[in-house]
């Protein structure tokens, strides 16, 4: 078997982070291919249950990325997301889920470089955290 490569799911808002990831592409900034992006209108769309589903489905890490505070296309969506996931993040950590597995970031449409850097770091961190064996659905 080849070396283990982490699988990461990214929930990206359409207006900032997805566009930022597009910009990383247009600028040809290289980053590791471990992330699978799910496009959503807003970080406020992300239901905490999506995160649980990702983790139980074998994702080694989950990232939510939205607009910087104040830049939300819908003016307030990321405020709600921030509050919601502050609670979830603390709860997951309390229940023993490695905090590296669930992260959040603000990436604007102009931050292609930040996106590339972020993914690179994220992949590195999750490699260190190792495969998500504990939480994942057993395939027996």
């Amino acid at each position: 078997m080849s070396e283990w490569e982490p699988k990461i799911v990214g929930f990206l808002c359409n207006w900032c982070s997805y566009a930022g990831a597009d910009l990383a592409g247009t600028s040809r900034l290289e980053y590791p291919p471990n992330i699978r992006i799910i496009r959503l209108p807003c970080s406020g769309r992300v239901n905490p249950l999506f995160i649980l589903k990702c983790l139980s489905n074998g994702a080694d890490g989950v990232l939510i990325s939205g607009c910087h505070i104040g830049d939300c296309h819908y003016s307030e969506g990321n405020f709600y997301a921030r509050r919601r996931f502050a609670v979830l993040k603390k709860l997951l950590e309390y229940l023993g889920i490695d905090p590296r597995r669930f992260q959040m970031s603000w990436v604007s449409a102009s931050e292609g470089d930040k996106w590339a850097r972020l993914v690179t770091e994220l992949v590195e961190e999750i490699k260190q955290a190792g495969p998500n064996k504990d939480f994942v659905r057993k395939n027996d």
């Binding site: 990831a21 406020g44 997301a81």
Partner: protein, 654 residues
Amino acid sequence: MKIGVFVCHCGTNIAGTVDVERVSQAASKFPKVKHSASYKYMCSNPGQNLVKDAIKKHKLDRIVIASCSPSLHEKTFRKCVEAAGINPYLIEMANIREHCSWVHKDREKATQKAIELTRLAVSKVSRNKPLEKTYTTIEKKVLIIGGGISGIQAAIDIAFANYPAVIVEREPSIGGRMARFDKTFPTLDCAACILTPKMVTVSQSEHVTMHTYSEIEEVSGFVGNFTVKIRKKARSVDINKCTGCGACYNKCPVKVPSEFDMGLGKRKAIYTPFPQAVPNVPVIDRENCLYFKTKKCGICKKICTVGAIDYDMKDEVIEEKFGAIIVATGFNQFDHSVYGEYGYGKHKDMITGLHFERMVNSSGPTGGKIIRPSDGKEVRDVVFIQCVGSRDEQKGLPYCSRLCCMYTAKHALLLREHNKDSQAYVFYIDIRAAGKNYEEFVKKVQDEYGAIYLRGRVSRIFEKGGKLIVRGADTLSGAQIEIKADLVVLATGLVAQKDAPSLAQMLHIPYDKNNLFTEAHPKLAPVETITSGIFLTGACQSPKDIPDTVATASAASVKALGLMVQDKLAREPLIASVNQDLCSGCLACLKACPFSAIEEDEIEDRKLRRKRTVAKVREAVCTGCGNCTAVCRMAAIDLEGFTNTQIMEEVETL
């Protein structure tokens, strides 16, 4: 279900890194995929034809395009499949260029990722539903809140396009702040000379209705269909009968300070704010009117030959429908009493810029004479203090009010013009004169009109020997300065109207911490708000001078007219919807909607055999952000195009 997958080479943009053929082959084995193909440029005409032909040939009913970012070509392919008879919302795009081929170098890994991205798109599209755009009618009428220069300009622009506009102004006359100005920088046109014709144009336009002495009471509805309640305050003068002869206010025995003249002059209890008022119909100030206070007097009624005086007139609330709303409520003056060191209120010979405007105006309370309010003597040495309130986070406003530098320069110029012996001293922090011919104007005031500019703050003002001693520092020379002034003029900053927050709440538009209304996007949508159909103009959004105000007024008008010319308003169907069976009616969604797009609804629950409250989406208002879906514990509210089922399917496919 028959899904077709089309993989784009994008020349070598994708194919250079990704083995497109392998992606196409792998896709053909995905569940429900009946056909897959690749092509050099999928977005080109031949590429699109390839898609259309395949749809017909293989009876495909859902399409995945693996190519570039959906922000580039989602619309293209929606149109393309629609032409081939598939609902345009039954496509998904896999972004294998920006998110794959352009950011990865390893061909094997990039190909593998492209396959997985395509698989995600296939799984999502398998859960897509056909959606239809919805259409709403548009009320072909624009409401303009505020009858200052910006509201007037907007009304003129709308009327020019032959659409009806309604101005609601709370003062008895339109004209706003500009009507009080004397001359305007940097060209020194007389404000009245350029404003009055516009006021007349508005009053004479068949397309413009004015509700002066009126206020907005309630706003409901959504773009294209706003319902607005307007309170027409009792004017006590019948606007249809009054001829504007002026006999009533000439004979009225009660004199009170004139608001229009900033208290420098007097008006009567029945009055028009200024001679050029539009409409030229007086209003009775019931608080001061003798008739209302004592039930005696009644002179105006006796004298009025047309019987226009109506003491029994009551407030009237009218309801009108509008397709768009332009907010032009302007600004207020900063309350400078917080600057104790200036002693405002203590010193009679200290006034604000707006007082100065009235004083210098030849039709103003002093007949154009610049005098000391304390003794009526003409002034010689005048100190102007800039940035009163502005750029002072501690005591005042964090922002620059933008026009004070210019109007102070104008005042200095007018001072010398009125009195050759006078001397203007200007205390400033920075001179901000970024506008066409602005810098030149300031320079002219300094060079040709001898105004002395001193960089620094004033630390104290006190009276001595009938003069105001202004003590301050000139930071350029480092010297302490003391000026014996006849008059001190404060360049107070511009702030939002006091009731701006309550209006914003009525309109469901956001406002910032300074109570200024917030535009939808600071750069790309400066006159829009996040509530579609509501536009901003003038100083209610941020301090603006007249040219900027007029420009935004025209911009807002164009936006409103853009709505007016539509037959129907097409709305993207990618909005939230409620499954009322699952809804508990807790209304967490309603409280979390940034757009007030959710309302309470009452349904008859057949199972419980009783009425119960549930949430309902106001489709025309919903912008599709999906915040509601994430706060709904019972997953009763979902977002079309990004449904829970679609997203969970994507995650499942990982």
